[in-house]
């Protein structure tokens, strides 16, 4: 999706606002929004790629202006409704209830298995690496070009690298392919490579900062062999 989330190279978004001694949580609701990622993943309502895809479909103006963890609320809410776990009307009714009674407590429930899951997930992680018999199409040192096409749905092929040519710097093995898993079509593992692009290649010689490169991790289907050999290339 050519969405607002795909921010690399966008100009005019203002200064960075650095908060000194920033706390981990800025409000109580952020803790619950953060927890939704783990608890609703465990409930099978989404995978991490679908989670990102839900965020990417927020209204662009709202995406840019809303607090970060509200993005997580948005995607968790979307998949809870889509997965049939909750009904939009009950969510609206419950929201109205807490608007009017903000200090009313939450329902009580204990779940030792969920607590154990939380600790195990934080320590053990949720690896995206997947075995595959497919041989890598590219080797370290190969020159590759990123394909130009614009998928409608979830992809990690950022716009600022499309059509650009770089060099394979590292080959990492096979991982879940977001263009499949994020769109509900299974893991479909693909090779992942770190590709090095020069600043001049990405932004044009007249606009680029000197002496700099950007590394981008790309799944194999994003790449094709570069058309022009590297002979005396300045890129």
């Amino acid at each position: 999706m050519n969405g607002v989330h795909d921010l690399g190279g966008t100009d005019g978004l203002g200064p960075v606002v650095v908060e000194q001694d920033e706390p981990v949580w800025h409000a109580e609701w952020e803790k619950a929004a953060f927890a939704l990622f783990a608890t609703n993943f465990r409930a099978g309502l989404f995978n991490v790629d679908m989670f990102r895809w839900g965020i990417e479909q927020m209204h662009p103006a709202y995406y840019l202006l809303s607090p970060y963890y509200e993005h997580w609320m948005h995607t968790a809410e979307h998949y809870a409704i889509k997965g049939g776990a909750i009904d939009p009307s009950e969510l609206e009714a419950k929201t109205q209830y807490y608007r009017e009674h903000p200090d009313e407590p939450l329902p009580e429930r204990t779940d030792p298995d969920l607590l154990a899951f939380v600790d195990a997930a934080v320590k053990g992680g949720a690896p995206a690496r997947r075995e595959s018999d497919a041989a890598p199409a590219f080797q370290v040192g190969d020159r590759v070009t990123v394909t130009q096409d614009s998928p409608h749905k979830h992809t990690r092929k950022a716009r600022y690298i499309r059509g650009k040519t770089g060099v394979i710097e590292q080959s990492h093995g096979t991982f879940i392919y977001p263009d499949s898993a994020g769109n509900g079509r299974g893991d479909d593992p693909k090779h992942v490579y770190t590709v090095k692009f020069t600043n001049a290649e990405l932004w044009g010689a007249d606009n680029a900062e000197p002496n700099g490169v950007v590394y981008f991790d790309a799944w194999e289907p994003y790449l094709v062999p570069a058309a022009v050999p590297a002979e005396g290339a300045t890129r």
């Binding site: 803790k31 709202y62 968790a76 979307h78 807490y98 429930r109 779940d111 997930a121 934080v122 700099g212």
Partner: protein
């Protein structure tokens, strides 16, 4: 091919108030508890982990060890996931980690332009600025200017600036340079000097 699956509701172009967000989140949490998916204990436990147990203090111990143990440093740069695991560090959003080394000739800086990917096991949860559009948009385009203007870190033109966009499931941390004048410090004293920002790559380690 269908396009967006989600039709934005009419009210979502206007930012919600904190009170409105809190009510909405509380409603969602209440429903998730009623459906047997969530508990307040799980929320509190996750909050506590990233507030008190997993944070940049862990990454700082990795950096200090790399500064004082050349063999560990070599293992860290070869395979950061395995090297961190030696120290009992690893897990969610750090299943496959990569450490990149700052030198006299190279300065590294980490970003995620597409969302906010960040190496949680070594740095904890990211600060707000790392997740904001201003940082994610510009650091790949003008890293040198941004480091100077926004973070007060002037990287000489003779030093190559390498930006790592965490676009897949690899998670990057910067191994900053050990500051001069720290030869007599212990590993534990060195770890206290290492900041979160130095491991993202927006600041040097200062004595």
């Amino acid at each position: 091919m269908t396009r967006s699956e989600i039709t934005p509701s009419p009210d979502v172009t206007v930012p919600r108030s904190e009170a409105e967000i809190a009510a909405r989140m509380k409603a969602l949490e209440a429903l998730m508890i009623e459906k047997g998916i969530m508990t307040t204990e799980a929320v509190d436990r996750l909050a506590e982990i990233y507030e008190n147990e997993v944070g940049p203090q862990l990454g700082a111990t990795v950096v200090a060890k790399a500064w004082t143990d050349p063999e560990f440093k070599a293992r860290l740069l070869a395979n950061a996931t395995d090297a961190c695991a030696e120290m009992g560090i690893g897990g969610l959003q750090g299943e496959d980690m990569v450490a990149v080394e700052n030198t006299d000739d190279v300065h590294n800086v980490v970003v995620c332009t597409l969302c906010s990917c960040y190496p949680w096991p070594v740095l904890g949860l990211p600060p707000n600025w790392y997740k904001q559009p201003a940082y994610r948009s510009r650091i790949v385009r003008e890293p040198r200017a941004m480091l100077r203007d926004e973070f007060g870190h002037d990287v000489p033109e003779s030093v190559e600036v390498r930006v790592w966009d965490s676009s897949a499931e690899l998670r990057y941390m910067v191994l900053p340079q050990r500051p001069p004048g720290t030869e007599d410090k212990s590993e534990a004293e060195l770890a206290e000097l290492v900041t979160r920002d130095s491991m993202i790559g927006v600041a040097p380690v200062r004595v």
